[in-house]
């Protein structure tokens, strides 16, 4: 095997079983950069974009569903996030499964998955298992994928929050990796979730802010200000070439508050 291009799931799992060190290729928008720059030299590649089961978007989100498709819905905040990824060329190829595979703290699809408490379904020849998003994302650019395992799909809970908003801060509109991004989701009964990306080693939830604001049925100015403060306090950002820790902390609170206001 050098490259295999299976068209069904069992073909993909068999290929991974016979060469557990093989690299999975989806849209290639992360992997090809690494190959082109000589950071990765895969000898065996399993190209999965033809696997029909992985392209399904029907109750669950197949790993090979592209940003271009997610931009069209049905999940509002995920569509908003998809719309900010790279450029039309990147969105036509890049997939949600690849975002999970790369597991960058700046992965724009991840805050939505965190806010909804999504599970990631992993398949191998031997077993199927589901991990909650925070069991799957184990560190910056690290995930719980075992050799021979394939990201099959994202499984969302039955109850989807009616209000959901995504926002991202970066240096320009197009083609920008996030300095910080936030997803806020609110159920009709007031229960609220807030997930922040690029503000810690992995995407994180700010539980203190969630608890405080979930108890407010129609939050006024002081509750909103407290929510903003708790979000800023609850993130754990670093300073790097894209932004400073202080700015990220501040922006996370401001963006979270604005998104919450849109959810009310």
């Amino acid at each position: 095997m050098e490259i295999v291009r299976p068209t069904d799931l069992s073909g993909a799992l068999e290929a991974l079983d016979s060469a557990p060190d093989a690299t999975v290729l989806a849209g290639g928008t992360d992997l090809m950069v690494e190959i082109n720059f000589g950071h990765r030299h895969p000898e065996h590649i399993v190209a999965v974009r033809r696997v029909e089961e992985l392209t399904e978007l029907n109750g669950r989100i197949g790993a090979c569903v592209t940003w271009a498709r997610l931009e069209q819905g049905p999940y509002r905040a995920l569509a908003q996030a998809a719309r900010t990824v790279g450029s039309p060329q990147i969105r036509a190829a890049g997939t949600i499964g690849g975002n999970l595979g790369t597991a960058s703290p700046a992965g724009d699809g991840l805050p939505f998955l965190a806010a909804l408490d999504a599970e990631i379904e992993l398949h191998s020849a031997a077993r199927v298992r589901r991990l909650r998003w925070d069991e799957f994302l184990t560190g910056p650019k690290q995930n719980a994928l075992a050799p021979g395992e394939l990201i099959h799909s994202v499984v969302l809970p039955d109850e989807i929050p009616t209000r959901q908003e995504f926002g991202k801060v970066g240096v320009r509109n197009a083609m920008v990796i996030s300095a910080v991004m936030v997803c806020v989701a609110r159920f009709d009964d007031g229960r609220t979730r807030v997930a922040v990306g690029s503000a810690g080693p992995t995407t994180l939830r700010v539980r203190a802010a969630e608890e405080m604001i979930s108890a407010e049925s129609s939050p006024g100015e002081s509750a909103l200000a407290e929510f903003q403060r708790l979000v800023s306090e609850g993130v754990n950002p670093i300073t790097d070439h894209r932004s400073t820790a202080d700015y990220r902390r501040h922006a996370a609170g401001v963006v979270a508050r604005r998104l919450l206001e849109r959810c009310l």
Partner: protein, 152 residues
């Protein structure tokens, strides 16, 4: 090496490619189609944009071996013989080309837009070209050329 078959600018091709070779390298270095440019190899500049199964993608981010079975159109496939594509015509007429290095990518991305939306507005044009970088024109002449085409 592995063997791939695909349609390239309307012709069926069978070639042998390296395991980690990009479609861009295949096009430029082996198939003698240097129209698609290589300026970054990381999806940032759009100068390598080609159509693959009806989508505009960066050829530098497509694994050549994964192009098997695809229908690919490069900038060389845009004109019909000596007759330029309407987008090429518009860029020439409107001064949307200076050094020309970025032009193939803009031509393919814009042609893709006009295929689905024959009279796009300014925002749609800007959005469709947001993955293409030009270091010469400041974009004004490119946008105006394509707005003129949209109004035709």
């Amino acid at each position: 090496m592995s063997d791939v078959d695909f349609t390239l600018n309307g012709e069926t091709r069978s070639v042998s490619v390296g395991t980690t070779q990009s479609l861009l390298s295949l096009l430029r270095d082996e198939l003698e189609l240097p129209g698609s440019k290589n300026a970054c190899e990381q999806g940032e500049c759009g100068s390598c944009t080609v159509l693959m199964d009806g989508a505009a993608v960066c050829a530098c981010l497509v694994l050549a071996a994964d192009a098997d079975g695809s229908d690919i159109t490069t900038v060389e496939g845009m004109a019909s013989g000596d007759v330029l594509h309407a987008v090429q015509d518009a860029l020439v007429a409107g001064g949307g080309v200076q050094c020309g290095f970025c032009t193939p990518g803009f031509v393919v991305a814009a042609a893709h837009l006009f295929e689905s939306e024959p009279s796009p507005d300014r925002d749609q044009i800007r959005e469709a070209l947001s993955g293409n970088i030009c270091r010469c024109t400041g974009y004004g002449a490119i946008l105006r050329s394509l707005e003129d085409l949209a109004q035709r």
